[in-house]
């Protein structure tokens, strides 16, 4: 079976790629487009390490096929910083030491960005439930949650 020829937008840039039917968007991002910031922790949608935004919607890229994204816009962790400026969430994660090993961090950042875009003033409970699909084994979530709350405050100011 011939591969699918796909065109999409990734982090604002047009991309073109070939993929087999069974290849997921995560496979395509990592192995074909060489964007290894999204991670595979489980390949079953249970850990969130592969989180990306698909047309602005937070999804697990391991649960989307490469051939489903024709004409769509994908945002990954690699697109979060703008030039040399980190996103306020990225800044705050560094300030708050909200990462230890860092493997879950790209997924958590993308998910948090999606939350704050919808809900600029979330409660701690809202943050925790929104991020329930992002497993972290190192931090116990404490500093992640406070970093998201603090970044939200920074973003609300200006």
């Amino acid at each position: 079976m011939a591969k699918h020829h796909m065109e999409a937008t990734v982090n604002g840039d047009p991309v073109e790629f070939l993929c087999e039917t069974e290849e997921t968007l995560l496979d395509v991002l990592r192995d074909t487009l060489h964007l290894t910031g999204s991670k595979e922790g489980c390949a079953s949608g249970d850990c969130g390490a592969c989180s990306v935004l698909l047309d602005g919607r937070l999804v697990c890229s391991c649960l989307v096929l490469g051939c489903e994204v024709g004409g769509r816009s994908i945002e990954t962790i690699e697109g979060m910083a703008k030039g040399e400026s980190l996103h306020p969430l990225q800044e705050q994660f560094l300030k708050s030491a909200a990462l230890q090993c860092g493997i879950c961090t790209p997924g958590v950042l993308v998910a948090s960005k999606a939350l704050l875009e919808r809900s600029p003033n979330p409660t701690e409970t809202e943050v925790r439930y929104w991020l329930a699909g992002n497993l972290c084994r190192c931090t116990g979530y404490d500093k992640i949650v406070s970093a998201v709350m603090d970044a939200a405050a920074v973003m609300r100011k200006g």
């Binding site: 249970d46 560094l94 493997i103 084994r137 116990g140």
Partner: protein, 763 residues
């Protein structure tokens, strides 16, 4: 001769919350973890794993796999030379190469479901997976045994016919699944029980739990025609990986260069080899690089969880609360090969207390499960869960506050631990006091809510460490450490180097060097990397300062008594100060060539003097009596860090370990079917805590400096997982009136216990 001591006069960065130097790469996705490495022309390797928990491997036919187009190499047991029996330290456990080679690739038998039996390397993952299906393995299925007590029975299915129980007299002539019996004895427990006014005896049971790192194992090996190996792997100890691979693959260590990639969690589980030797042998055969990554299912089925165990504890105390005797019998399951952490479990069981009479017996038992690997304070959470639960019961029986009871018996400086050494200054009492004084302790509770407290201990280790400090010509400092950074180590080490050399911390660039660039480093484990790494930096900095003082003397034509190192510069003293100005590290660096050449230091130490870290945890929880579900309401960790090089990352260790303990206590367990197969080999049904499952984890940083470390540092990474199990069990008892002795305390168990007592209503 001017003395250079291990500390600058006043630290500037140590103890502050600097931004970690590797942080930007981690928040942008640039940092490269194990599976992020690729080489041109690489092949993809996959492992064929036994579907049977116990089977003799009669034959393996790989011919059809080898014939599949795209398959470039296949390996089996035939490709690994057998290894004689030899015990070696691996982290805080011991292992035997005879077992290691068999765990990496099954030989006579498949000893657990998921045991590696063969591997292929092919031009795509799809072809590799297809090839696995073409390998024909002839198994003779044998009866299996999973549970530790079952495995100890004389009629249990036998895993190894050459395993005879060590530590019993007379030496047994029949092989057994009991690999070892050990004993720790101090005083006379029988006499101690006679003196007791109250005695509590309980039996406890825990299930195997996995370290749960989010990043699966991954390795990329490239073997060239002359047998040199380049290996990238996600590991806690690349020097250990080098040693294992050299041994298993029959290579000189000098010919293997191992790079530790960024590591996505380890907690002890990445201190051993699984894929690495296989990737090397495949690459050797295929003459191309081979990349291997485990699936999540493989991680659960084929990498080591920690032991499940059965533990019996009996303690006695006088009416006014003095412990008179402590007995424990620990039965730990090691998985398919011997080497459970029963020894450290036995050593830690009563370590927080000053008890005259202690007797601990431990059994290391094999069964048809994956070989256990270290998991954060290996062995201690299990034994201390049991002891701390019994301590709580004694407190209740005597009507003494549980913190008070622990305080009355707490180990202090000078106490001789049951496992041998006398404690130096330690912080157990300080952590107990912090908990007592906390706002948390004094907050009232409602019905069906309970509060529990427990203490914990881990020895921590030092070990062989090499760190190099190099001054670059522009005055920046390159720091190369050799213990993989699993949680913020580079931040801590950068602060130490910056303070030692008196440079701004942004001028220090720490990296983790590969095995070709540094002398030996023992792995990251045992809570040793900041402790030993900082010690080695002090040593390296000392060398630099000595050299700079010598150069200053030459340059200024001065005598050693006329100069000193102070506050980041070599300074002229007395009259000399009118003639010359102080020179900083950067000043010397600029003219290093003129004064003798490159400037650097290498700290090569076998770090001694690791100080134990004690912690006390306090937890509030609420039980829904109609469903048995538990919600953690509030959690406080008080732990002695000695000296926190970077407080935020120390707090992070406290919080992360506590939440792993919450998972272990409430929901995590390996679930096996009657067929000996693992039923929950994924994150859906292996239930680790998610963000909405836990509250804030408040932390109290206690600092009782370790006098044997230049900065007072104690390792902190492991102790945090020790107290939660009992703290939560104790809180459950206070919430429900029921003492749970079996982990996890999952809702079906809790509801059943409530129903049996007619307690399962809200009123």
């Amino acid at each position: 001769m001017a003395e250079t001591n291990g500390q600058t006069n006043g630290t500037h960065y140590v103890g502050t919350r600097t931004i970690r130097p590797d942080g930007v790469d981690k928040v942008t996705g640039r940092a490269r973890f194990g599976a992020d490495y690729n080489l041109p022309g690489q092949l993809f390797g996959r492992v064929l794993r036994s579907p049977h928990p116990h089977a003799r491997i009669l034959s393996i036919d790989t011919s059809r796999a080898e014939a599949l187009p795209g398959v470039k190499a296949v390996v089996t047991r035939a490709d690994f030379a057998d290894q004689p029996s030899e015990f070696i330290p691996a982290g805080e456990m011991m292992m035997n190469y005879k077992d290691v080679v068999r765990n990496v690739m099954a030989r006579e038998k498949a000893l657990y479901e998921g045991h590696a039996v063969a591997a292929v390397a092919a031009t795509s993952v799809a072809i590799a997976r297809k090839a696995l299906r073409l390998i024909e393995v002839n198994y003779e299925v044998l009866p299996h045994v999973i549970d530790v007590v079952e495995a100890m029975r004389p009629d249990a299915p036998l895993l190894h016919d050459d395993l005879f129980t060590a530590g019993v007299e007379p030496k047994p002539d029949k092989p057994s699944n009991i690999a070892k019996r050990l004993e720790i004895k101090v005083g006379d427990v029988e006499a101690g029980f006679k003196k007791a006014d109250v005695i509590v005896e309980r039996e406890f049971k825990t299930a195997p739990v996995h370290q749960g790192y989010i990043e699966p194992h991954a390795a990329l090996a490239s073997v060239s025609e002359d047998g040199s190996v380049e290996l990238w792997t996600t590991t806690q100890g690349h020097f250990i990986v080098r040693a294992h691979c050299a041994r298993l693959c029959g290579l000189d260590m000098g010919k293997i260069r191992v790079t530790a990639t960024e590591i996505g969690g380890g907690f002890g589980g990445k201190t051993v080899v699984y894929l690495e030797p296989v990737a090397i042998m495949l690459s050797k055969k295929a003459k191309r690089p081979v990349k291997m990554v485990m699936s999540r299912e493989e991680v659960f089925k084929a990498s080591g969880p920690t032991s499940g165990a059965t533990v019996r504890v009996k303690m006695g105390a006088t009416r006014d609360g003095k412990f008179t005797a402590g007995f424990a019998e620990l039965k730990y399951q090691a998985g398919a090969f011997q080497g459970s952490p029963v020894q450290p479990g036995a050593m830690c069981a009563y370590a927080p207390y000053d008890i005259e009479n202690v007797h601990v017996i431990g059994y290391d038992v094999v069964s048809n499960r994956p070989k256990v690997a270290a998991y954060r304070a290996p062995g201690a959470p299990i034994s201390e869960f049991a002891v701390e639960s019994v301590v709580d019961e004694i407190a209740k029986k005597l009507g003494i506050d549980p913190v008070q009871l622990r305080m009355m018996n707490a180990a202090r400086e000078g106490t001789k631990a049951a496992y041998g050494p006398k404690f130096g200054p330690i912080g157990l009492e300080e952590t107990l006091n912090s908990i007592k004084k906390s706002e948390h302790w004094n907050t009232p509770l409602r019905k069906w809510q309970g509060r529990g407290v427990a203490s914990g201990f881990w020895f921590n280790i030092g070990g062989e460490t090499t760190v190099s400090l190099t001054l670059n010509e522009d005055g920046t400092v390159s720091l190369m450490a050799g213990t993989p950074d699993i949680g913020g180590l580079r931040a801590a080490l950068a602060s130490v180097a910056a303070d030692e050399l008196g440079v701004p911390v942004e001028k220090v660039r720490p990296i983790i060097g590969d095995t070709g660039s540094l002398g030996f480093n023992f792995l990251t484990g045992g809570s040793r990397s900041a402790f030993s790494g900082s010690m080695a930096i002090v040593e390296a900095a000392k060398q630099i300062k000595t050299e700079l003082i010598a150069r200053a003397c030459k340059l200024w034509e001065a005598k050693p008594e006329q100069v000193e190192w102070k506050d980041g510069a070599v300074r002229p003293l007395g009259a000399l100060a009118e003639k010359v100005k102080p020179m900083t590290v950067a000043d010397f660096a600029k003219i290093s060539g003129k004064l003798g050449g490159p400037i650097g230091g290498v700290g090569r130490i076998n770090a001694q003097g690791a100080g134990p870290s004690f912690g006390t945890h306090l937890v509030d929880l609420e039980v829904d009596p109609e469903t048995g579900r538990t919600t953690i309401l509030r959690y406080t960790v008080a732990q002695d860090a000695g000296r926190a090089l970077h407080p935020a990352y120390v707090e992070g260790q406290f919080q992360g370990g506590a939440v792993q303990g919450i998972g272990w206590a409430l929901n995590e367990e390996y679930i096996y079917g009657e067929d000996g197969r693992l039923q929950n080999a994924g994150f859906l049904d292996y239930r680790m805590p998610v963000a909405s499952d836990v509250p804030r984890i408040d932390t109290v940083l206690v600092e009782v400096p370790n006098p044997r470390h230049p900065y007072g540092v104690r390792g902190v990474g492991e102790t945090p997982i020790v107290p939660p199990l009992a703290a939560i069990a104790n809180a459950m008892e206070n919430a429900t009136g029921i003492r749970f002795t079996e982990l996890p305390m999952s809702p079906p168990k809790v509801l059943k216990a409530l129903q049996e007592r007619g307690l399962n209503t809200r009123d």
